[in-house]
C-alpha cells in the first residue's frame, strides 16, 4: 500500500466514525496533535492538584477534608490514565514530564490563578470542573480510541467534583455575611478565567480546523463557551450570587445569553507565563520531580537487585 492509500483508509475510518487505535496507521500531524492535546490535558490534571491541594490541610470540616482529598486523588488518577493514553502514541511519560518542566508543554492556564480562600474550593469545583466537563464530554466520542476511553472514566468523576463544588458554594451562599462575601469574591475572581478555559474565539483558534476534521474536537470553542454560560447563569441564580459581567443579558432572538467582552490580553499574558502563579506552579512540580529523583533511583536499583537474585535462584535450582 502507498501512503496515499493509508491516508484514504484513515479518512474513511474517520468518516465512518470508527475509532483509530494505537496500531492503526495515522497521519503524523494527527499523532502530534493528539500527543500535544492529551499530554497537555494530563499536565493540567497534575498541576491542577496544587491549587486545591493547597487547602487540604486547612479544610474547614472533616467531611470537606475527606471529599477534597478524594477529589485531588481523582485528579492524580486522571493524570495517570491520560499519560498512559498518550504513551500509546509513542512518547514516554518521562519525555512528557520533561516537556512540562522545561516549559515547552502547556497546561490549562486556569491553574495559574491562586486559591486564596476556602470558597475557591467551591468555585473551582463548580466553575472550573464545570467548564472542563463541557469540554470533555464530547471527547468521550473523540476519534482516538484510548483517549476516548480514558475520557469516559474522567467525565464520570468530574461530574461528582462539580456537584461537590456547587454544594460548597451553596453552603457559603446560604451562610453568614462573611461566608457570602467569600463566595461572591471567589465567583468574581474565577468567572472570567473559567470562560477563557474554552480557548480563544473560533476566528483566532489556530488548531481548531484540523482537529474538527479529525473528530478530535466536535464543537467549536465559542459553541462550548456559550453552552457553559447559559447553564451557569441559571445556577448562579440558585446561589443568589452575581456574575461579574454587566453585559450579561438573555437574548430572546438567539436563545442564548449575550455576554461582555473577554479580556484576551489577560488570557495570552497568562499563557505566556505571566499569570499570578505560573512560576510557582512549575517550580513546585520541578522541585517534586528533582527531590524525588533519589527515590525513583532507589526503587529501580532495588527492583534490579531483586530480579538478579531471582535469576540466580532460578539458575541454581
Amino acid at each position: 500500500m502507498t501512503v496515499h492509500s493509508f491516508q484514504e483508509k484513515f479518512d474513511e475510518k474517520i468518516d465512518r466514525e470508527d475509532t483509530i487505535e494505537p496500531r492503526d496507521w495515522m497521519p503524523d500531524d494527527y499523532r502530534k496533535t493528539l500527543i500535544r492535546q492529551i499530554s497537555q490535558h494530563a499536565h493540567s490534571e497534575i498541576v491542577g492538584m496544587l491549587p486545591e491541594g493547597n487547602w487540604i490541610t486547612r479544610a474547614p470540616s472533616l467531611r470537606r477534608k475527606a471529599v477534597l482529598l478524594a477529589k485531588v486523588q481523582d485528579e492524580g488518577g486522571h493524570g495517570l490514565y491520560l499519560y498512559s493514553a498518550a504513551e500509546t502514541l509513542g512518547i514516554t511519560r518521562d519525555e512528557m514530564l520533561e516537556q512540562l518542566h522545561s516549559g515547552k508543554a502547556k497546561y490549562s492556564s486556569i491553574f495559574n490563578y491562586p486559591t486564596t480562600t476556602w470558597a475557591d474550593m467551591g468555585a473551582i469545583g463548580w466553575l472550573v470542573d464545570g467548564a472542563a466537563i463541557m469540554n470533555q464530554v464530547p471527547l468521550c466520542r473523540t476519534s482516538y480510541g484510548p483517549y476516548a476511553r480514558a475520557m469516559v472514566r474522567v467525565c464520570k468523576e468530574e461530574s461528582f467534583h462539580q456537584r461537590q463544588g456547587f454544594e460548597i458554594m451553596l453552603t457559603l451562599a446560604k451562610g453568614t455575611e462573611e461566608q457570602k462575601k467569600m463566595a461572591q469574591d471567589a465567583l468574581d475572581r474565577w468567572w472570567w478565567p473559567s470562560i477563557m478555559m474554552f480557548g480563544p474565539p473560533d476566528a483566532e483558534s489556530p488548531n481548531s480546523e484540523s482537529s474538527m476534521r479529525w473528530r478530535i474536537k466536535r464543537f467549536s470553542n465559542d459553541e462550548l463557551r456559550q453552552k457553559f454560560i447559559d447553564v451557569t447563569v441559571e445556577q448562579t441564580k440558585i446561589l443568589g450570587l452575581t456574575l461579574p459581567d454587566k453585559d450579561l443579558k438573555w437574548n430572546e432572538a438567539r436563545g442564548h445569553y449575550d455576554y461582555g467582552a473577554i479580556n484576551w490580553e489577560e488570557f495570552w499574558n497568562v499563557v505566556k507565563g505571566n499569570g499570578p502563579c505560573n512560576k510557582e506552579r512549575l517550580e513546585t512540580r520541578r522541585k517534586a520531580w528533582e527531590e524525588g529523583a533519589w527515590v525513583r533511583e532507589a526503587a529501580l536499583a532495588n527492583a534490579k537487585k531483586r530480579a538478579e537474585r531471582k535469576n540466580k535462584e532460578a539458575s541454581a535450582a
Binding site: 497534575i46 492538584m49 496544587l50 491541594g53 487540604i56 490541610t57 486547612r58 479544610a59 474547614p60 470540616s61 472533616l62 467531611r63 470537606r64 477534608k65 475527606a66 482529598l69 478524594a70 485531588v72 486523588q73 492524580g76 488518577g77 493524570g79 495517570l80 499519560y83 476556602w118 453552603t171 451562610g175 453568614t176 462573611e178 461566608q179 513546585t284 522541585k287 517534586a288 520531580w289 527531590e291 524525588g292 529523583a293 533519589w294 527515590v295 525513583r296 533511583e297 532507589a298 526503587a299 536499583a301 532495588n302 537487585k305
Partner: protein, 272 residues
C-alpha cells in the same frame, strides 16, 4: 467513663495528625503513583479519625455538665457546653487546644523527606496493624467494629511502608544512607507507641482497650524482620521520648493545629 473517652480521643488524634502529615505530600510525591497512594492513605487515616471522633463526641455529650465543663480547657468548647449544645466530630478536631490532644509524638514529626516519611509510617503501621488486630476483640462494640473495618486499610499501609523500607534500605547508597539517618532520628519516638498511659491501663484492665504488653514483642519482631530484608540494623533501645499521650507535645503540633483549625477559629460558629 472518662478513661474510655480519653482513650477514644487518643486513637482519633493519632489518626488525624498522621493523616494530616501524610496529606501534606499531596501533589508533591516523587512519582505520580506514589502521590496517589499517599493521598489514599491520608484519606484512610482521616476516615478512621472521623469514626473515633464521632464515638468520642457521643461519649462526651453523655457526660454530666459538671464533668463536661472541666474536661477540655478550650473556651470554644466551653461556650458550646454553656449554650447547652452538643459537640460533634468537627468540634473535637477543630476547637481543642494542643494540650488536649493525645496523639503520640511520632505522628506529629515533620515529613522532611521521603525516607523520614516512610520510616514514620512504617513504625506506626507495624504498631497499628497489631493494635487493631487486638482491638477487634474489645468488649466495646464500637471500638471493635472500627478496628475490624480499619484493619483492612492498615494491612495495606503496612505492606506499602514495609516495601518502601526495603527499597530504600536495599536500593542505592544514597537511599540507604537517608533511611539510616531517618531511623536514627525517629527511633526515639517509637517507645511511646508501646508505653501505656493511665487511660490505656484503665481501659485494658476492663477488656475494652489493648494491653500493649501483648503486642510489644510482635512489634519488635516485625520491625526486625523487615529491617533484616532491607539490610538495616535495628537501633539499640536508648532514650525514648514520652508525653504526647498525656498532652505534652513537641513544637510541631502547634503549627499543625494553626493550619488545621484556621478556618474554624477565624470564622467561628458557621456551617461549612
Amino acid at each position: 467513663m472518662k478513661e474510655l473517652l480519653k482513650y477514644t480521643l487518643q486513637l482519633a488524634d493519632n489518626a488525624l495528625i498522621l493523616g494530616h502529615r501524610i496529606s501534606e505530600w499531596c501533589g508533591h510525591g516523587p512519582v505520580l503513583e506514589q502521590d496517589i497512594a499517599l493521598t489514599n492513605t491520608a484519606l484512610d487515616h482521616l476516615g478512621q479519625a472521623r469514626s473515633f471522633y464521632q464515638y468520642a463526641a457521643e461519649q462526651f455529650n453523655a457526660l454530666p455538665v459538671s464533668e463536661k465543663e472541666h474536661f477540655f480547657t478550650s473556651s470554644a468548647i466551653q461556650s458550646i457546653i454553656k449554650d447547652g449544645k452538643q459537640v460533634d466530630e468537627d468540634d473535637l478536631a477543630y476547637l481543642r487546644d494542643g494540650w488536649d490532644f493525645r496523639n503520640t509524638l511520632l505522628v506529629e514529626q515533620p515529613n522532611k523527606d521521603w525516607a523520614y516519611t516512610i520510616i514514620r509510617s512504617f513504625f506506626y503501621d507495624v504498631f497499628n496493624f497489631f493494635f487493631y488486630t487486638e482491638l477487634q476483640k474489645s468488649t466495646d462494640v464500637t471500638l471493635s467494629a472500627i478496628a475490624e473495618k480499619s484493619l483492612k486499610e492498615v494491612t495495606y499501609h503496612l505492606r506499602w511502608s514495609s516495601e518502601w523500607v526495603i527499597r530504600l534500605g536495599d536500593g542505592t547508597d544514597e537511599s540507604a544512607q537517608r533511611i539510616n539517618e531517618a531511623i536514627a532520628n525517629r527511633w526515639q519516638f517509637t517507645g511511646e507507641l508501646l508505653t501505656m498511659s493511665e487511660a490505656e491501663k484503665a481501659v485494658a484492665t476492663s477488656g475494652i482497650g489493648v494491653d500493649l504488653e501483648k503486642i510489644k514483642t510482635l512489634w519488635k519482631e516485625r520491625v526486625a524482620a523487615v529491617f533484616a530484608e532491607a539490610n538495616l540494623d535495628v537501633p539499640a533501645n536508648g532514650w525514648m521520648h514520652q508525653g504526647g499521650k498525656e498532652g505534652k507535645h513537641s513544637e510541631h503540633l502547634g503549627y499543625i493545629l494553626a493550619e488545621l483549625q484556621f478556618v474554624q477559629r477565624a470564622y467561628p460558629n458557621m456551617q461549612w
